[in-house]
Amino acid sequence: MLPAQAQVLPTAPEDTIVAEKVRAAIDVLINGEHFRHTGDPDLPLLWYLRDVLRLTGTKIAGEQAGTGADLVLLAGKPVPAASVSIKELAGREVLTVEGLAANDGTLHPLQQAFIDEDAIGCGYCTPGWLISGVALLRRKPQPTDDDIDQLPNVCRCGCQTRVRRAIKRAAAGKANVA
């Protein structure tokens, strides 16, 4: 039984309802969360993170050779987020600086080591250092100075000596992890 106020239309408005075309979707996995992107498949990951998901820890770093501030881990490898488009992400997990800490807020040992060593200048390039540092530690849990020398990041504030100490501290398991 229809509610009293409801009206039965004389004819169904067939013409006015057009089913939306099913849009091609790209499923992406970022920091353990699933997202479905139905927009431009050429959208660079950098703008997807910053403009769409509002994950702004991944910074604007340069279109070609950059400062490394836009590094993310793509399937475990550090890549500049400006250099990858959404369509290249299908089936590969992205980890950004926002995803380094555990869900309960416990910091990654390298994040804690950065705090312990005060390995921060202006802070803008810090996320990029963390991403390449985490990639290094995963690949080589006890990195040598030569390994650390290979990090692609640059920093005008001169935080490199402290970053080096932080990586070694994290490798030694000495970060103040609660």
Partner: protein, 756 residues
């Protein structure tokens, strides 16, 4: 509640500064500092709300004991967001673990059409934050502490003089304790003292002199900290630019049809520098802006613009030609633009010459290359402008906004979040002018950003320079005459500085070895250039220290002397050396930092060491710095094995922060000297990406910088770029001893590879 009745009380700090107690919400004590005409009444309470941001007081104590302290100076990586609040926290005996720091942004009120800055000075990255805070932020903390003590005295029935404060608690002689949080409400209605409460004596310090990590560290490592470039206020358009390669060029043709057809593109606008204004206060170059609802749409729209630029006069600029012009000016036939200093008589000193030494040094143009590219957010309404600006000088940004909008002083609000690097670039506000021009043409918030590449192509560069030096040494191997002639395009040209003062940004009349050598002359030769130039951190000391400290090392080598003993002999016995401008050089302090680094690096082995050792020292803004560097040649490679830096800054506020600044400035100066040069041809900068302007990687830089801090009790100096001047010459001197290659031309690596 109202904290006080009648006009808000204030305490005169000096003729132009006063402290004021701001009315806050229940249970909240707020103390601010202001700057105004001496007789100006403080802000009426009606203007203050209960909102911390709007209020912007320096200190706020909440009933639960949490303390918010405002940081007035922009933190561009200099650590002032930590050290300035630390100074306040010390004087008020706050529990540092309960302190949160808030960047204050700009707060301004209307004083008959003139701005009155609520927080006094607000300036970052110029080496002046700490000295200024030492003078006027300590009393803020002292007043808070005094008010809390009065409230506690009433509460406990004990005279205030018998109470003591410790980490956010007032303690009575009988052991009773009251927390600041529980006293905040009562303290906010305490009548102000008739004179400033006394400051703590250094023996009582619990925070100053102890390591404090960066207050923003956690939000940074988790990616949560938002820089201006990360902000997206509601109802915005992203603006990207297509910039004219020449600052004085013009737009010849523009077809924006295809750009406007891109989904999301809202508008295409053309902007241009306002004629006749100083560099840095209007757009840096003509530009076409694409405004869109997303960054990607704006970028795609920009790629579809069809436009051509018409070159201006600057299209003939060529850095190679400028260098030739400099060489010609310095050929000895031309009179200098300015005789900066002339002690004794360098010509007649030649009669006693046993030996003469000559050298010419070249240093290239440099870009600022901040990590965070230029950007600005503007929301413009009929009666107000709200901005988010990554700036070192919010008051200068304010004046640009005011000129372009005609708004009243208090109608312009500027937030300054943490800034992704400054180095002097953000003392200019061309990007603010651009964003305001765009905001005037749309009814939405404009978020303008430049790409890293645009930032490199459009900078107010640090001008290059050529130095020609001559020294005369007598038979006893004393330097009896020193002539230093420098040619450069002044960094202060086109900025309203009179021609007679253009030299002042290029060299100092008092720089070493002035006043140490009886016959001393320094001349400056002006080069003319249309390439935009501007302030850079450490200028002009960095460029001059490189040539002076290298040349002294050259002379020592030519005389077969130990460079350390030669340098110490040049400095002479510890004394206060008047420099002729009212300031003095404390020879004892300078010798001390030099001797410290020499000892630490193992200088006694300098002649026999397998690796090369180098030294340099400098004085900057009343602080003293020395570097010792050890370099090894490993086949084709130079390896910086060790770096020691000693600094004497007077009292150290935050030793950890100081060590960070010293190590950071050392690495930055080495990175600049090793690799970097801006060159231009046809008025266009040839370095397009950071691949062409290669900031040093980890592998090129030393693994560690050993920082030695000289303890002191003098008023503290700034330190953010103190360690820049002596780093590169110490490196070059070490390279000479490691490889017998004297580098007189930067960038260092290219020259070393050419000469070795």
């Amino acid at each position: 509640m109202s904290a006080v009745d009648g006009p808000l009380p204030y305490l005169r700090l000096s003729r132009r500064r006063f402290l004021q107690v701001l009315a806050g919400g229940a249970g909240v004590l707020m103390v601010g500092i202001g700057q105004a005409r001496a007789d100006a009444p403080p802000l009426p309470p009606g203007l203050l709300g209960d909102n911390f941001h709007a209020l912007g007081a320096y200190v706020r104590i909440d009933a639960d004991g949490n303390v918010l302290i405002g940081a007035r100076d922009p933190d561009t990586g200099t650590g002032v967001a930590t050290s300035l609040p630390l100074i306040i926290a010390e004087e008020m005996d706050a529990d540092w673990n309960r302190v949160s720091v808030v960047p204050l942004g700009l707060d301004v009120s209307d004083d008959n059409g003139q701005p009155r800055w609520t927080y006094g000075r607000q300036l970052g990255g110029t080496g002046t934050s700490i000295p200024a805070a030492w003078a006027d932020l300590r009393p803020v903390g002292a007043l808070v502490r005094w008010m809390l003590l009065q409230a506690a005295a009433t509460r406990l029935g004990v005279k205030a003089e018998r109470l003591r404060c410790e980490s956010g608690t007032v303690i009575a002689p009988d052991g009773r304790r009251v927390t600041y949080g529980s006293l905040a409400a009562a303290a906010s209605s305490v009548a102000l003292p008739s004179q400033m409460p006394p400051l703590k004596s250094p023996q009582q310090y619990r925070l100053i002199g102890r390591d404090a990590g960066d207050v923003d560290a956690r939000t940074m490592v988790t990616g949560q900290l938002r820089f201006a470039i990360d902000e997206r206020p509601g109802d915005f358009l992203i603006a990207v630019l297509a910039q004219c390669p020449w600052p004085d060029g013009t737009l010849a043709e523009l077809d924006s049809k295809d750009a406007l057809a891109v989904d999301g593109v809202a508008k295409v606008l053309s902007i241009a520098p306002e004629p006749g204004l100083p560099w840095g206060s209007t757009a840096i170059a003509p530009a076409v802006a694409v405004l869109a609802t997303s960054t990607w749409a704006a970028l795609q729209g920009r790629s579809k613009l069809k436009l051509t630029w018409k070159p201006g006069p600057s299209a003939s600029e060529d850095s190679g030609v400028l260098e030739q012009q400099a060489a010609k000016l310095l050929d000895g036939q031309t009179d200098p633009s300015m005789r900066v200093r002339n002690d004794g008589d360098v010509e007649t000193a030649g009669k006693h010459a046993a030996r003469r030494f000559n050298a010419t040094y070249f240093q290239p143009w440099l870009a600022h290359a901040t990590a965070e590219p230029m950007n600005c957010i503007v929301r413009l309404d009929k009666d107000q402008a709200q901005l988010v600006v990554p700036t070192q000088a919010p008051q200068q940004a304010w004046s640009v906004v005011r000129r372009l909008t005609g708004l009243a002083p208090a109608q312009i609000g500027i937030q300054v979040p943490r800034v992704g690097g400054g180095y002097g670039r953000r003392l200019d506000h061309d990007y603010v002018a651009e964003a305001v021009m765009l905001a005037k043409a749309v009814d939405k918030t404009v978020c303008l950003w430049w790409s890293r590449e645009q930032d490199l192509a459009h900078d107010f560069y640090q001008p290059g320079c050529v130095h020609s030096l001559q020294a005369i040494v007598d038979r006893r191997r004393n330097v009896i005459a020193w002539t230093q002639r420098m040619a450069s395009a002044s960094a202060t040209a086109h900025r309203g500085v009179p021609d007679s003062r253009l030299w002042a940004s290029e060299l100092r009349a008092t720089q070493m070895p002035a006043a140490l050598i009886p016959n001393y002359r320094s001349d400056w030769y002006a080069l003319s250039s249309a390439m935009p130039r501007g302030p850079a951190c450490g200028a002009p000391d960095v460029a001059n220290a490189f040539v002076v400290e290298s040349f002294i090392d050259e002379i020592a080598h030519q005389l077969r002397e130990n460079p350390l003993t030669f340098k110490l002999r040049l400095l002479g016995e510890p004394r206060q050396l008047p420099l002729g401008d009212g300031t003095t050089l404390d020879i004892g302090r300078l010798r001390h930092v030099l001797e410290l680094v020499a000892e630490r690096i193992g200088w006694k082995d300098w002649l026999h060491s397998v690796n090369g050792l180098g030294l340099a020292c400098w004085q900057l803004g009343g602080a003293y710095v020395a570097h010792a560097v050890e370099v090894a040649v490993d086949g084709e490679r130079l390896v910086i094995q060790r770096v020691v830096c000693a600094v004497d800054v007077g009292r150290v506020i935050n030793p950890l922060g100081l060590a960070d600044q010293v190590a950071g400035a050392t690495l930055d100066a080495m990175s600049n000297a090793l690799n970097l040069a801006i060159t231009f041809k046809g008025g266009r900068v040839q370095q397009q990406t950071l691949a062409d302007y290669p900031l040093a990687t980890m592998a090129q830089l030393p693994n560690d910088v050993e920082v030695i801090t000289v303890p002191g009790n003098r008023a503290p100096t700034g330190a953010s770029f103190l360690a820049m001047p002596s780093a590169a010459p110490a490196l070059a001197n070490a390279i000479f001893r490691a490889s017998a290659v004297r580098v007189r031309r930067l960038p260092l690596m290219a020259e070393w590879e050419r000469l070795r």
